[in-house]
Amino acid sequence: MTKSFFYRWDRWWTRKDLPHILAIFRIAFGSFLLLEALTYVQAVPTLFSSQGLVFSIWADAFPMTIRSLFEPPSVAVAWLIFSFYCLCSVTLALGIAMRTSLFSLLLLFLYYWQLSFHDFPSSYHRLFFTVLLILLFSGADKTFSLHMRLRRGSFFAFEEISILPQRLLALQITATYIGVASQKIWLPDWQTGEVLIASFSGKWATPWGFVLTRTFSPAVFEFLNWIVRLGEFFLPFCLWNREWRWKAIIAGTLFHVSVAVFMSIWWFLVLPPAYVLFFDPREVHSWLSHHLPIIKKR
């Protein structure tokens, strides 16, 4: 019994398996990082250089000789660093020099945090940092990558990889949903639909959000609040369940799209593509090779 448990535990976490799921996630995540970076193009001079209201929180902790590395740079240097960030996102998505790209992105995340994003701390940036760290130790470039094109002659060539990074990423998403949903049981501000009315008419509200608050009665928001709380809680369990997975994917996608449309909090749209991490690698490979026969060839 015990032996069987450890065998199953070990196999579930660490077995070698196909790399397509992690590769799909790598492409989606790299593209998402690039998209997010592009939304800051207009803001580069004033959010990331000495021409803005920017104050480093780390510079004072370092000796004078290296302090300037952390302080807001000139506009030209800010553009160079920003361009390098975009380049790393592209190379991550393309699967070339993946580890160098990931390591650079991790350092750049820390750099931008101490320079500018400490004024905009967010759950999703912590989530992105964790994802980058896990991908750093993964074989996410072992298919659908320029790395495989150069090494094996085909973008679609693949090698088996450890499933551990896929499991860790899926566990992180699960924990995030469960944590976010569970605390809403007792958080005072989540006990009535007022939270949604305020959210759809506050700083995050889009014009569509304001339309909602003008159109519907408080009872509707009360009902929506229950849907949100129950939905967020059950979503990760359904994602792990083969029978419920597609329903959960549709529900989760609708939820995050709604948050983006009514509240302009669009960064969590990275999660629906990440639902692929809950599938079995062989199932996805079988689906892909049915639709793209070239994938069958190694």
Binding site: T46, L47, F55, S123, A175, G179, D189, W204, A205
Partner: protein, 167 residues
């Protein structure tokens, strides 16, 4: 023998990572749900908590800081802060709030406001605005389903002067 040792070490490391990752999640969850600190590095617990803690509360008020510049003819004119926050509204408001209120301490807020005003004076002059002083105020007003700025007027608007910086 060498290969075997490497394999054992690899497997040991893999399972150490798994257990560490589970502990990382549990510590974040315990803090999120029960405000209990587990015997786990505090900074990592906070980081894990940070991933589970978006949108815990909502604001009853809208808020913003406004800057005005003293022109050479002695009048105070508004300075547009839009060029400094070319991001979506929600992010701009959060950034402005955090710039001033990094700590919930009134004196600290005033010190931050002085720092921001000095930098703003320097930047505005660099942009060719001939102003002699900058003053920074914090405004807040109730929310309205009609729009973000609908109630940003008397008698709903509350304005607090945070700092004035002269050349």
């Amino acid at each position: 023998m060498g290969i075997l040792t490497t394999m054992k070490l690899r497997r040991f490391l893999q399972h150490a990572v798994i257990l560490f990752f589970i502990a990382f999640q549990v510590s974040g969850f315990m803090l999120t749900m029960f405000r209990v600190w587990m015997p786990f590095p505090r900074s990592l617990t906070l980081f894990s908590y940070g991933m589970m803690a978006p949108y815990q509360a909502y604001d009853r008020y809208n808020y913003d800081f406004v800057a005005e510049g003293l022109t050479v003819d002695g009048t105070w004119e508004p300075i547009s802060l839009q060029p400094y926050f070319r991001v979506i509204l929600g992010e701009a408001v959060v950034r402005k709030f955090k710039l001033i209120f990094t700590h919930p301490d009134r004196e600290h807020a005033r010190a931050n406001a002085l720092l921001i005003s000095s930098k703003l004076l320097q930047l505005e002059r660099g942009r060719g605005h001939s102003i002699k002083a900058i003053r920074l105020s914090w405004q807040q007003w109730p929310q309205s389903p009609q729009g973000m700025d609908t109630l940003r007027q008397s008698p709903h608007l509350e304005s607090t002067l945070l700092a004035t910086v002269y050349d």
